[in-house]
Amino acid sequence: MKAFISVFPVKGMRMGCVLGVVLGGILTSHVNAQEYPADSLKLINLNEVIVISTAKQLDHQKQRKPLSTLDEFLESSRSIKMVKRGAYAWEPIMNDMASERLAITIDGMQIFGACTDKMDPITSYVDVSNLSEAQIGSGQQGAAFGNTIGGGINLKLDKSNFKSTGWTGSLESAFESNNAMRVFGGELNYSDKQFYLNTDAIYRKADNYSAGGDEEVQFSQFEKYNFSVNAGYKLAEDKSVAATLIYDEAKDVGYPALTMDVSLARAVIGSVSFNQDTLFGNLSNWESKLYYNTIKHTMDDTKRPDVPIHMDMPGWSETAGFYSQANFNSAQNHFLFKMDGFYNKSYAEMTMYPNNSNEPLMFMLTWPDVRTKDVGFYAEDHIQFKKASLKLSTRLAYHSNTVADDFGLNSLKIFYPEMQKTNTRFLKSFSVQYHDMWKDFHFNTGVSYGERAPSVSEGYGFYLFNSFDNHDYIGDPGLNTESSTDVNLSVTFKKPIFEIAATANYFHIYNYIIGVVDSSLSTMTIGAEGVKIYTNLAYAQLFNTSLSGRYNISNAFKWTGQISYHRGIDNDGENLPLISPVSYRSAIDFYKNQFSASLSVDGAGEQTNYNAAYGETKTAAYATLSASFGKRFFVNENDLFVKAGIENLLDTKYSSYTDWNNIPRMGRNFYLTISYSIN
């Protein structure tokens, strides 16, 4: 396993630059582009790829904390921030936009969380141990993964891909002092030219963590297992089939920032795919996949003291889908065509147990069995000129929502007597990206337009309590489609030992969907301040910019740094919630003779542009210091890797703007990881 931030997935730096630095910020630690074989060159030009592991050689020295959670990996990305409701299952934010405005997929599969309170982002249903990389595309660069406004993240599973490696395996373990997290994992793989089989298992268990100053954060424990199997078989030289199965289960997960915990979050994710090198002679890399996943999420408040009323809130999400894609290459044009579709069923209920046990149970549907059908067509053309290149892409999709449960339909009709059972939309996305080079300068610029349908909660949520602004939320099935026009610009100056990049993007979002207070409504949740209805604002504006740099001080020492600024306002000039203040990150990395070390600082300025109407309070400035040390040993041709580190060295007590209800983050934490791989 290894993790470093590589900037481009495509072959060579020249290609990589094409759309690489469009967004986000920094050329972080190691500009170490993945060498992709030419025939698998995918024309999905991503802004960023976080390499989590590579199927072949372990390369741990490149990674500051090898067995960290996927959440921590994503947080290390320059373009992603994470909303934290506890120690587990953080929610990714990109370009100041969260889940409903992002397209998040696992190996191209659409998966939707089963929690009405966003306690289970898709990223919580996999583990770093079975992933190879996170492909990140900002804005419409993420449209290949689905309809999006803010961008797309695809978590790619780790596969052996018919390399003749025979049997390989590894064992890994880690311990963290702050929350006594124990991690045990292992994998066993077989691969030859005809067949491969990858198996992986990992177990994590953590107790409550302590914030800076040794203050225990109650209900921050969690326990998680993840098993995965994937196998491939070559039918012929140019044809193969593959199948994957992931079972992920988290139990006893505390959410200190919320009023409820989770007793069970379980996902079963499976797919079969067919791959053929050529199709009709002209199309190449034809890949088709059928998939299915089912998620169960059970919220639980039985361990919380003094709940005003005990409630059970289970939720289910089931998705079946497919995609089929192929490339078409000519001398100048590289096309990618993709057909995809999914059918999702989202159902969630709430049962409350009255304090007077003679009264009947109180029951309602919070997600009224919403069936979402989506069929889309995506195409892109990457046109190569001498020094410049142009990428055109589009996604056209048919999207419909149907409320399948009559109980739920009648519930919503309390608010919307005229509502229809089914709501259909046609979603469009277009994007143009241009790249040019002049001496050591790289210029990237692009204009895009994209649309998205409201999420299940935004369209059909029924009294969803949001503990951040202390309001009950109600969806509106008649919401307009949200659309966004964005422009992006980046300039990179690059020399072998030195690199600096400035990037900026601006989103003008029409029909921006957000909860607006309706003071005529009565709350449902005891203690809630009011009721908000999801509403279209005329527009909202988001602006993100960053400056980043790298300097190779010597062969062994390297410095990296990044600073970013974000601003988000609505049509009245009011601040939007969850917009980052000025934040920065800087690190010095050392690597020599299989020994690695790093020292990094992470911080943010005071959050001045907050909005109390969304429950935000001013978050103070902070900075934390971390260090790590690693050594790689060779034992009988096998690899033994040991890494230790300290996070939040000065035991600072702090919280960032993304910490739900300002729950404090972890204080000083020592970690130790040991990996042994048998090649």
């Binding site: 009255p354 109980f407 309390i414």
Partner: protein, 284 residues
């Protein structure tokens, strides 16, 4: 090419998501006119019987819909021209009084007569209700007096209110619908009578009853889009909308306003005043 076809078939199948139609064709069938009703009483006369039906298993304090059928034993037929009328009476130790009731009318099935009675109080060992029924059978006037038992509603929930308004008039307000409340906007109905004297209870017309449902078990939260009950001359009922956002125990707080909008009974629900003195209770 074979695999191709196969793959395309799968893709095609997955694209054409099956959409099942739920429409059932309801072909009309012969229905028993008293299907689903319970026969509470049966009066046996020489050549005919009188049957009393209700949706409930017994008569209760509050609003009771009562169905009557008269069976001619000779022809084994049900009579549709009996023109029945009735008078409920309570015999208390010190006095007698009647109860609000409608006339009895033929229903769609002309041999079934229907009306309702709002009983204000239950019967007990020494105090009882009876029902005097007058009707004609083959041109001959008949009378039957039937002693009936009136119980308090088994669920113990308050669905009838007998009170004196601020205009010093005695009113009887009774809950009619929804019989099976749903999490939805329900059609709500109630009846309102005033007590002129011991024997006369005319329907009160053109008043308004405001509706404010609350869940006392959950911080006394309310619900949106309720509509006040207003008088419908056609049905002589007060009609409005009752929205219930979840199952459970609800207290339906009411206020009675006369035609001039003056409050005769009931108060607004506020933080300081969690309930009105005029209310119904619901559980589902």
């Amino acid at each position: 090419m074979k695999t191709l076809t196969y793959i395309f078939t799968i893709l095609f199948l997955s694209v054409s998501f099956v959409s099942c139609s739920d429409d059932d064709d309801n072909t009309p069938v012969e229905v028993n006119p008293v299907e689903g009703l319970a026969m509470l009483y049966k009066v046996e006369a020489a050549d005919h019987t009188v049957q009393f039906y209700s949706e409930k298993q017994n008569l209760e304090v509050g609003y009771n819909e009562i169905y009557i059928r008269i069976k001619d034993l000779a022809g084994n037929t049900y009579v549709s021209d009996a023109a029945p009328s009735w008078m409920p009476m309570m015999h208390m130790e010190t006095m007698e009084h009647s109860a609000p009731h409608t006339s009895l009318n033929n229903t769609e099935e002309s041999s079934v007569y229907k009306g309702h009675i709002v009983f204000q109080m239950p019967s007990n060992e020494t105090e009882y209700w009876d029902l005097t029924l007058n009707y004609t059978l083959k041109g001959e006037a008949k009378q039957e007096v039937l002693r009936v038992t009136v119980a308090q509603p088994a669920d113990g929930l308050k669905k009838t209110s007998v009170f004196t308004g601020s205009d010093d008039v005695r009113y009887i307000l009774a809950y009619v619908n929804p019989k099976e409340p749903k999490v939805a906007v329900n059609d709500m109905q109630a009846v309102l009578y005033k007590m002129e004297n011991m024997m006369s209870f005319p329907v009160v017309e053109n008043y308004t009853i405001t509706v404010d449902p609350r869940m006392p078990g959950m911080g006394n939260h309310g619900s949106p889009n309720n509509e006040d009950l207003v008088y419908m001359p056609s049905s002589k009922l007060y009609n409005g909308k009752l929205s219930l956002t979840m199952t459970g125990y609800w207290k339906i707080n009411l206020k009675l306003l006369n035609a001039n909008g003056e409050v005769l009974k009931g108060e607004d629900v506020t933080e300081a005043n969690p309930e009105s003195s005029l209310y119904f209770e619901l559980e589902f």
